[in-house]
Symmetry: D2
Subunit: 298 residues, 4 copies
């Protein structure tokens, strides 16, 4: 993505095509006057704000906002002014042109196919604004699906030497230059170094209403407990199992007639829609992370 | 309720008014021919089945059904035939005339009033088919509410001698002859002997989507975790904290703007509707318990 | 489907494989003793009822039920007994073995692809228990999709001679021997003779919450009206536009930020899930039509 | 409310207590730099923006925003600056201190009581931040409810002289000085002059999912149509029947077992929650009307 990630090391602003407007996201410690500063900067760069969502967590003192700017903006000028704001506050901002290149998404899966199938089909018919550039799996079940859509398939089978396999996975991912990695019912835990390398760029779908039923076999455990609703949760991956910041959740009602197979089937529907929704929110820069929580500006 | 609870000790069938039809519920080990036997019995007693819901848990071998019978039924004849079926199978059945007396409900609460307020108001305007015959509380907050509606209020304050207080509560309940006891955000755990005495006749509302956030302060913990949905759960009370068979659950979506106070307010709405719904299901004999799960024939 | 449709002309019971149990559906004028007669017939044929759903519309006097029978059933014996019941009542029943062949589904579409894409993908990964045997369209947009999955594609372009095109469509459908025809955002109205020929075997998905926004462009009209929820409706096709018996509906909440494009995108998600759900309900014999309404035994 | 309604005639800013922060809402034709101007004004008046929601309808060119400002604000200074902005743009703004007096709500009802009962009960236990200052009805059914809670009750029976009754209603309302009038299942149409006098200050609850089933008996018509979902809609009242800007909608799923009485009962639950939700949104200044649509900044 032609994104300006203003980290300590600085960044290179890629001036693709700013004539169609841009999206600005800002995360910062709260301070009086931030909005005024941002709005004045946008005005002076010739932009018109058409959507502004701002939230301050007054307990934690975190400020976040997402601004859609229409019209032809002088992005260099805006970037210079944002840097001035940044130098006085420890602000993190991103600048993304509306007319940006399509995001590169890598999907990891195992043998359960409804999520990867759904993502690839959505992308193919233009209902998810990204390219699925590769399907990577520890199983071979998904190969046929990949081939139907001409998506490159990489099989990384489970080996005795786990560290070696993880190193291979890291290399494969590196070479794919993903904007986003999606764990679409991928049944293996990623190593901490990989999670850390792609911080807030890995989204997992968990087939329960977290924090209920963390870990494996959530549907069987939900049936055992006799719940009347099951859920699905999409979240950023962190080093804590099923513990990362939640982006989206949804649920479906059950009856006593639904056994584990029915729950699995009905849950699949919400897993797919929740995952697709979370990916869209991420790609449209609508998610800002405050510690263990997300602001979702939808 | 003019109910026939066919337990080992037998029962006394109270012949109120069977001319408006009846509801028959049956729980039994599964056996070929049960439905045929029940339907033949109803036919021979002059009844017409207008609604029949039946479910067999094929894994556990549990059979349950609920039958609505219209027309004037010879209830004595039906009861005799059901006893014959019962003698060969360890069936538990209930027979309830449609034209039954209103159920007596006792509501226990502490200082959070939206649930008791809602139940009493619904009952007063005819939207919950029962009489709230008493409000019992360890606090005095609910006294004004009880007085508005002319509902007797009993204050059982917390004492040092907990066993003594529990004994008092038991006596109060005994004297009220409740068909159903509702824990409407009652903040104290009932003693096991009381729970056992009113088995499947005590419904609790828990302000979370169980099994997430068992115990106290679920909204604060949900906010801490950053969930995007909160829930409410109505369940029968058993000796296990928040572990009894679930009757009804519902959820509401949140945004990052919802702090703990907002969650408490929004959760209150579903607590009320889930609790009222579970009470209605129970009163209409729509809930049959299979071990730790319920069949809800709605 | 190896189904016994007991119409006036009689039928041929196809004895595929009844050893895995069967599903019996019955529609009839209400009469005392029907359930007893059905249950006794099943018992005498050696079957065990594991799920029975029955509903009587007491206003209209319509009786409907769906029964799942486990075990090896003597289907000839059961069929003979059902015929006896039928001769005294104008009952319509279907008998379907659980171990039946997969249903043949023909999908009609125009240029909007999310519904056909979803159905074909679900079928391919085993999440919809049917074969999509053909994709028929008045456009060519869906050809690539059909080819990805090896589904035969038939293009029936719009012609000046409409009657001729409809005759062609009729021939194509006839040759495909469909158990079910699905209008997956097919933008043309079927002729009455075709609808009548496939009565209760054509399901349409309409992209609104019927009866709101009957006809074309429902999302644009929903936006114009400023609604906060949009919906999707799957129904059997009758001669009345968007007026057939409703099988399933669902909705999604909107905000003021959702323009027509957003509504179209968000609506697509529920169109797909509602349509897939209605097809599943139909294929599992869970839908019984009472005049303009459906009983859905789910 | 200590609100500044900047209409053509100007207004008097009532300086109650601005030390706890304020809420600013702005509606305006879209123009570059509005947000910058507003944010700079707030900064110069000593306020800190903690929540900002802004939406531009780019098709219509309408700009709307709602800003929560924390801290002690120099309201006179802010008002002066807002007037400057207003003089160049035809902006309409409201300034409301967070520490404002409770809003005065008048509830109109007929003989259906679940909505007025719910509103009064919520207000009494602190779950709706307003005072129900009067219950006005064309029937006497609600008198007992009003008396339970000590709410003044006015009976305005239907007369032959309709204009006279409407004049009386106008007088009663005038004397009550309502901030908001709620039609809680009030079965009579208000005269145009009354609607116009309280523009965007009258909220109606309609017991259907508008625009489906406009007018009377929506549940009976929904049953006739065989819908699987029913809804409730809260909207501002305009001269067009059930046609005003929609504030909130919600739905509940049905089954074929739900007859009109069940639909009425189940619908009542969402009518109550949708109405309470719309009132809260209105009272918290979260609703901005753009023509026939609303922005709801929740």
């Amino acid at each position: 993505m032609a994104t300006t990630d203003s980290t300590a090391e600085g960044h290179a602003l890629k001036f693709d095509d700013w004539s169609k407007g841009l999206i600005l996201t800002v995360r910062s410690p709260d301070r009086v006057g931030i909005v005024a500063g941002l709005a004045a900067s946008i005005q002076s760069a010739g932009g018109n704000i058409v959507e502004l969502d701002q939230h301050t967590d007054v307990v934690e003192g975190d400020f976040g906002c997402r601004i859609e700017v229409a019209g032809s903006v002088d992005a260099l000028e805006l970037d210079r002014r944002l840097k001035d704001i940044q130098s006085s506050l420890s602000t993190i901002y991103t600048l993304t042109p509306v007319a940006r290149r399509r995001s590169r998404v890598v999907v990891l899966c195992s043998s359960t196919l409804h999520c990867p199938s759904d993502l690839i089909a959505r992308s193919a018919i233009g209902q998810l604004d990204c390219d699925v550039v590769a399907l990577v799996s520890d199983q071979t079940t998904a190969r046929e699906l990949a081939e139907r859509y001409g998506v490159p398939f990489t099989h990384l089978p489970i080996r005795e030497d786990r560290a070696e396999q993880e190193r291979q996975l890291g290399e494969v991912l590196e070479s794919l230059e993903p904007d986003l990695i999606v764990l679409a019912r991928y049944m293996r835990v990623l190593p901490a170094w990989l999670v850390s390398h792609y911080e807030q760029r890995i989204i997992n779908i968990h087939h329960s209403f977290l924090p209920a039923f963390i870990g494996s076999n959530p549907y069987a455990r939900a049936h055992e407990r006799g719940v009347k609703i099951i859920g699905a949760t999409a979240h950023y991956v962190t080093s804590e199992l099923d513990g990362g910041p939640i982006i989206a959740q949804d649920v479906v009602h059950l009856s006593h007639r639904d056994d584990v197979a029915d729950m699995t089937r009905r849950g699949a529907d919400i897993e797919r829609s929740v995952l697709a929704s979370a990916i869209r929110l991420h790609l449209e820069q609508r998610v800002i992370v405050f510690g263990s929580r997300t602001c979702v500006f939808d």
